[in-house]
Amino acid sequence: MDWVIIRDNAALLLGGTVTTIELALAAFLGGTAIGLATAFARLIAGRDAELGLKAAVDVVRGSPLLVQLLLVYLGLSAIGLPLDPFPAAVVGLSINAGAYLSEIFRGGMAAVPRGQTEAGLAIGLPRLYVLGSIVLPQALPVVVPAMIGLFIGLLKDTSLAYVLGLLELTRMGKNVMDRTLQPFEILIAVAVIYFVLCFPLSQLVRVVDARMRRSGLAQARL
């Protein structure tokens, strides 16, 4: 075992780690925006629009993220709208996360008693306001742990941006491996970095989930 190799390449691996975190954060923001918009639109829209949005969500959830990333990167460039790997990865990951997040938001809001919506509408509040300021806040105890879980998923999924040649942690690790010909040590280091990023968050999900359940905020849990 040659662990010096890790120390020698630590700066590169940390650089890749920063890109990975930036990618996950950007896609989390983009995905939350897409997810909220989709969830609200599905609750407000008419039947046809609802069916169209459901189909779109099902297509994203029914196909591999890897293919979606390639479709954004290669597809856009084929129709004359080339994107750099980083923005392409953010767009692909955001669309993917958005589909899953919209289901998280919808599920959480469906768990809030109907009477809340009816009461809000009965006193003449606009529908969007009722959903955004009355229903959604009450759904948060169900939604927040699921959102942290999704962010952990995003941190791991950013590794697929490897196929776009983006120098996030996995690609950076692969480059270092190809140069040093010491794949085992480098891969262990890469795996440890992902673990250090993800494990505390997965413990946080457990704590937040337990606390919200104990305080009875999430009695209507699905």
Partner: protein, 215 residues
């Protein structure tokens, strides 16, 4: 779509490999997951630690890195895989950790009274597990298991990174020869959507059959 039809044989070959890989990794992962879940509830503490370590390590690292570890890392320890063997192994190990959590949740959902009742009529521990606990566990978890199997089909697309000729790899190969990028990737997406949809329907039917004994 003519570009897909012209290369239909290739695509069908890729689809077949995707299905074989996903099925192997689902079955293998279920076996690993069951063992790991039981180990996490074992009396011997080291067994519990080992199983917990496995589950947490796998669930907190990317599948692609696990695939690289199997394919590029293990040769250091004298273990060599073909690309296909590495993909099935990595997906099985990955699935095993997620399925272990699913099974653990299901095992915990079996009421304690069931165990007490079984013990009071003199059933052995092993018999109780096999005939009382596991059937009720399966009843509780089959929707989550079905979802995990579907995720496996999608995850198998990482095989393209190590050159396994599954569906995505075949599509990229045809793309590189024809430059019909948008059509091919759109068709590829739709094929995955169709496969996962059909699989979901099939698994739901199977699940309903399982549920028949439970009202």
């Amino acid at each position: 779509m003519d570009v897909v039809l012209d290369n239909l044989a290739l695509f069908l070959h890729g689809l077949a490999l995707t299905l074989v890989v996903s099925m192997s990794a689902s079955l293998g992962g279920s076996a690993v997951g069951l063992v790991a879940a039981l180990a996490r509830m074992a009396r011997a503490a080291p067994l519990r630690w080992l199983a917990t370590g496995y589950v947490e390590l796998i669930r907190n690292t990317p599948g692609l890195v696990q695939l690289f570890l199997v394919y590029l890392g293990l040769p250091r320890l004298g273990i060599r895989f073909s690309p296909l063997g590495a993909l099935v192994t990595a997906l099985t190990i990955n699935n095993g950790a997620y399925i272990a959590e699913i099974v653990r949740g299901g095992l915990q959902a079996v009421p304690r009274g069931q165990l007490d009742a079984a013990a009071s009529i003199g059933l052995s521990r092993r018999f109780t597990l096999r005939e009382v606990v596991l059937p009720q566990t399966l009843h509780a978890i089959h929707p989550a298991l079905a979802n995990q199997f579907i995720q496996t089909v999608l995850a198998s697309s990482v095989g393209t990174v190590v050159g396994v000729e599954e569906l995505t790899q075949v599509a990229l190969f045809v793309e590189s020869r024809t430059y019909r990028t948008v059509e091919i990737l759109a068709a590829l997406t739709l094929v995955y959507v169709a496969v996962t949809f059909l699989l979901a329907v099939l698994l739901r039917r199977l699940g309903q059959r399982l549920d028949r004994g439970y009202r």
